[in-house]
Structure formats: C-alpha cells, structure tokens
Symmetry: C2
Subunit: 347 residues, 2 copies
C-alpha cells in the first residue's frame, strides 16, 4: 500500500509553494507554464491524489449527498435511486447511502441514528425517501430527529409534510389510484372487490383504504371487513393475503393489490388453489412495476413516472443547496397500464 503524497511534498519537489500547487489543481488561477510543467511532472511521478477530506474541511462543503431509503430492493425505490444517483453524479456529488430496511412493526432507531451520522459527515444535503415519515403518525422522537436534521442541512423529504418543519416536502402520494382502479373494475361488472397489501398505520394505505371504503359507499355496496387484508409490499405478502382471502368465505370476483409484487404473489396463490386470473378473479395493482409487464397474466395497474419524480427530488435538493429554492408542486399524473389481469364479469 503506497502512502499518499501531500500537496506540501509536491510543492517542495517542484520548487513552488503549496498555494501554487493548490491553484494548479483547482484551476482557479492561471499558473505559469514553467511551474505548471514541474508540478505536473511531480504529480505524475507520485500519482498524487488530493485529499478531499482536507479540502472539505477548509471549504466547508463535502460534495456528498445523503440518501436515506427504506428498501433499495423495492422497484419503486431503486428506480428513484437510479435517477437521483445519475443527476447527483452529473453535478459532481457522491452519495452516502443509508438503507434502513424500515419496517412498520419493527422498532428501529436506525433512521434517527442515520440522520445524526449525516450531520456528522457534513453532507451538503439529504434526501429522505419514505420510511417512518410514511406512517400515519410518526413518533415524536423521529420528528425531532428529522427537524434537527433539517435545522443543520438542506433536506428534502418525499412524504407528507410536517407542519413547521425546516425540511422541504414533496408528496407524491396519490390516493386517486384506487379510485381509477375501482371505477375500472366496477365498469367491468365487478361488485365484490377485495383490497390487499400495504401495512396498516402507513399513511398511503390508510388513504387508499379510505378511498376504497368511500367508493363502496357511493356505489351502495356493502363493506366487507373480510375482503380487506393488509400486509407488506412483497410477493410473499400478496401470496399470504390471497390465501387468507380464500380461507374466509366471503365471495369476491376482483382484487385491488397495493402493487405489482403483491398482485403477482396473489395470482400465484390463486393459481395454486386452482383459480385462474383473470377468468375466475380479476386483479389490479395500485403501483405498476416493470415486473407486471412480464408476468402471466400481465398485471393491470396504475403507472407512475418514477424517473420524473426522482429527478424532481434531486433537482429540488440541489436548488436548496444552491439557495435558489422555489417551491414548485407539479402534478404527477398517473395512468392506467392495461395488462391482462382483469376481465368483464360473466362474459
């Protein structure tokens, strides 16, 4: 392991001052040809790489961005992440990533610890993509930690705004997905519609559930508690939820799933019990992923433009860092992606 050379040694060996080497490296001021060549020679000789740490210390910025994300393995989050990382890199930033594996039912002080770490690392800005902020009621200690973070750094949070917080909020939550799906299934003749996936206590789940119940009400349909099974967001959860629906003896012909993973798991479970989608049961998803385009059947669901959302998030953060923040809120119109998982009832 070769020791790293410092600017000081470069300066000595090329007979110039540290200041000149620094200026050469940063290109802030023109350096005379003669000195430049000497410096370049010595840098090449030792393969010198300046220490960003020291630079950050004297400059007061680190050119790093912190991202706190619940689950990088979730398609929704990694598509956001990929776009964010791309833009960040283009702007010269490096990303400190904290994957919190946040789960509703597990007590994790992790997020709060990570917020603290990000302050310690003096990142230039932070993006909080979901996590405890998604709960209907985040804990006081979490809110305090988040506010403290926002007090110290530019912070953009993807989630429901907290009043009086120093953070900036972008809320992509879209309860209307359920409305679209419900209308769609209703128009196909379905009247017994189940709802699966999504954790209780999570804001978006509560919003969707409220929409679901309201729609039942408006259509003068009975609300059947047995047709609602809340779980997590993965295929295995959809699988379990579907099994659970079948165990209860409440009839249904259609299912609204929290996302494509849940839908795919449910389809698999129905299949295992001898029911076919869409012939026996129709299913639609609140959150369309690319996985749903290759499944059998393809899953009909609400498609959101995650890339644009990711770009909006990082742009907003960069603007905050530069102090040119403008609070724009644009509408992320979602659209229905029609697969093959729904059919007209009785046809």
């Amino acid at each position: 392991m070769k020791e790293n050379i410092t600017i000081k040694q470069i300066a000595q060996e090329s007979n110039v001052s540290m200041a000149t080497v620094s200026r050469y490296l940063n290109g802030t001021v023109t350096v005379s040809d003669e000195k430049r060549q000497q410096i370049e020679a010595v840098i090449a000789k030792y393969n010198f790489t300046p220490n960003t740490n020291a630079r950050s210390l004297s400059l007061g910025r680190t050119m790093t961005l912190g991202i706190v994300i619940p689950d990088i393995s979730n398609p929704y989050f990694y598509s956001l992440f990929l776009e964010i990382q791309k833009e960040a890199t283009l702007n010269g930033y490096t990303i400190l990533l904290y994957n919190t594996s946040f789960q509703q039912n597990r007590k994790e002080p992790e997020e709060e610890e990570y917020f603290q770490k990000l302050i310690q690392y003096r990142v230039d800005g932070v993006l909080v993509l979901g996590g405890q902020i998604d709960l209907a009621s985040p804990s006081p200690s979490y809110l305090q930690a988040l506010n403290r973070l926002g007090d110290s750094l530019p912070v953009v949070v993807m989630g429901h705004p907290i009043p009086e917080s120093p953070c900036h909020f972008l809320d992509p939550e879209n309860g209307s997905g359920v409305t679209t799906l419900f209308h769609y299934l209703y128009s196909l003749g379905h009247r017994n519609i189940a709802f699966i996936g999504g954790n209780a206590g999570v804001r978006i789940t509560e919003t969707r559930l409220a929409a679901y119940k309201k729609l039942l009400d408006l259509h003068r349909l009975d609300s059947q508690p047995d047709l609602v099974v809340l779980t997590d967001y993965y295929s295995q959860d959809g699988y379990q939820a579907a099994l659970s629906l079948m165990e209860k003896s409440c009839p249904f012909t259609a299912v609204i799933a929290a996302n494509d993973n849940v839908a795919i798991g449910a389809i698999r479970a129905f299949g295992d019990k001898g029911f076919s989608v869409p012939y026996d049961i129709s299913i639609a998803s609140c959150d369309h992923f690319s996985a749903g385009e290759y499944s059998i059947p393809r899953v009909t669901g609400i498609a959101r433009d995650t890339y644009l959302l990711g770009r909006l998030l990082i742009d907003t953060l960069l603007q905050n860092i530069r102090g040119t923040s403008e609070d724009i809120s644009i509408d992320f119109s979602s659209s229905l992606w029609e697969g093959e998982s729904c059919r007209t009832l009785g046809k």
Copy 2:
C-alpha cells in the same frame, strides 16, 4: 439553517480545554464528573455534532467504505448490497455507493473515474462488485485504474483474479450451474436445448457457453448456433431472445436461461406465441432469484447463497482494513431449486 458549533466553542463556554471536550466525546479517558456535566450541558444547549471530516483528517481514517456496483436494481447485486450494508453499519462504517450502470457495449470511463474519486475521498476500503472486471478481457486502462486503486487502499474485488494485482479477489463464478441444468434437462429426455441471455464478451457467459458446448459434445449432440441467443440480463432480454429463437426454424424443447429474469421474459414470449411452459417448452435458469418463486410457472434454477457471499465479501474487506487478512476461499455450493418450468419430454 443553524450554524454548527465547534469543539472550541464548547470548550470555552464550559471552561475546559478542547482536549477535554474531545476526550469526553470519544470516551478515551475518563473526565471528571464536574467537567463532564458542564460539557454535557453546553453540548445539549447547542445540539453540538462533531465534524467527522476534521476527525478523519487528523485520524487518517474516514470510517467510510466505497462500493462500486454495476446495477443495484439487479436482484443478485442488491441482495449482496443489503448484506454488505448491514455488516458495514454494524461495524460503524458508512457506505459511499457508486452505481455504474455498467453495460458491455457502452464505453464508460465511469468506473475508472469512480475509482479515482474513492481515492480522493480516502475511504477506508473498497468493494468492487463486478463491472468491467467481468469482461473476458478488461481494458488496459481499466486494469491500470484498478491497480492504482489497490495500491492506495484495501480493495476486494468480486471477480476473476488479475495476476500481480494489489487487489484481493473473490471469484464466485460458477460455470457448473450449466452442467447441473444440462444434466437435469437431459435426464428429462431433452436433446434440443437452447441457451439464452448473458452478454457475449462477459466471462461468465463465455464460461457457461463453453460448458454448454462441451456437454453437447460429450452427449454427442449437434451444436446449433441458432439455439444460442446472447443478450442482456433482464426480462425484456429474455423476451426478445425467445422471440428470436422462435423465428429461427431450429427445433428445441428446452431452454437454459442466464437468470430468472431472462427466464420469466422468455416464458412470457412463448406464452404470447401460444406455447406453454413447461408443456411445450421446458426452461431452467442459471441464477435463481426470488422472482422465480412467484411466477407462473415457478422457474427451476440454480440457487446461490447471495447473503453468505455478501458476508464473505464484507468480512474479507474488513479483515484487510484491519490487516488481519487471511486468504480463505470457500466453495459456494449451489443447489437446484425445483420449480415447475421443466417437465419430462413426451410424457
């Protein structure tokens, strides 16, 4: 945005020296009760958070680890990542993540730039998970950059060893997967077996292809160039590859796919053309993901223990950092996960 207080100001306001504050913070030496209380009060008052940057500079280590990864959205890589991040966090490290979106056919100096950045950031160690190292012949400039990285920092590379490199290598490559799958399909009576997915020029693809051809040879079967379609690793690639197989008029009854995503895409394409898996065509995957457990049909494939591999990678890196490196190579035995995508021919 509140300005960050420094140790110096804490020291002044609590009537002790900076040294004492520092010692209190690090718990290196016991500080008298009296002074401790004063310090604690002032720290609480200002919500002081020490600057890791300055700390790193004087300590000579940053408690950060760099990870260079081709595609975090790939299940193989994110399961590695999740395990690595978990262990890293437990050991107090924060991760700088560079997702290179590495693609074989796109010229990207990105990886080399990232190596350079990691040196600049003086991370304590680097994990390189695939990328250009996976090519059958990585470019000279890449190898030079990688060696330079290894010269400056402890580096663990997941990939085929480069002779005389200062980096440490862990090679999980397992060409035997193809052998297992081939034997399996052969034993079910299949004789016309296609091979799809995986980029040409990528080492593991070449290895698998070589194994595939050797097995054809050993079984005295004709090698049909039309039955080999190399593409990328995603569902859309499997879809295209399957379409391409069907267009050619070379008969086949079974397909070996590079991974579950490719297999799922292929199953979808066969379905779209009226062929059913496994009734008309059997398909098996070299790399089993959890997605293959919920697809219709479930995909039979080679399961690898990604979590253990991730743990081995991070453990090896941490040992290198601590200077207690021992070059263990353990065998990652893989096993056949039996889904429903293969059946006995003609039965």
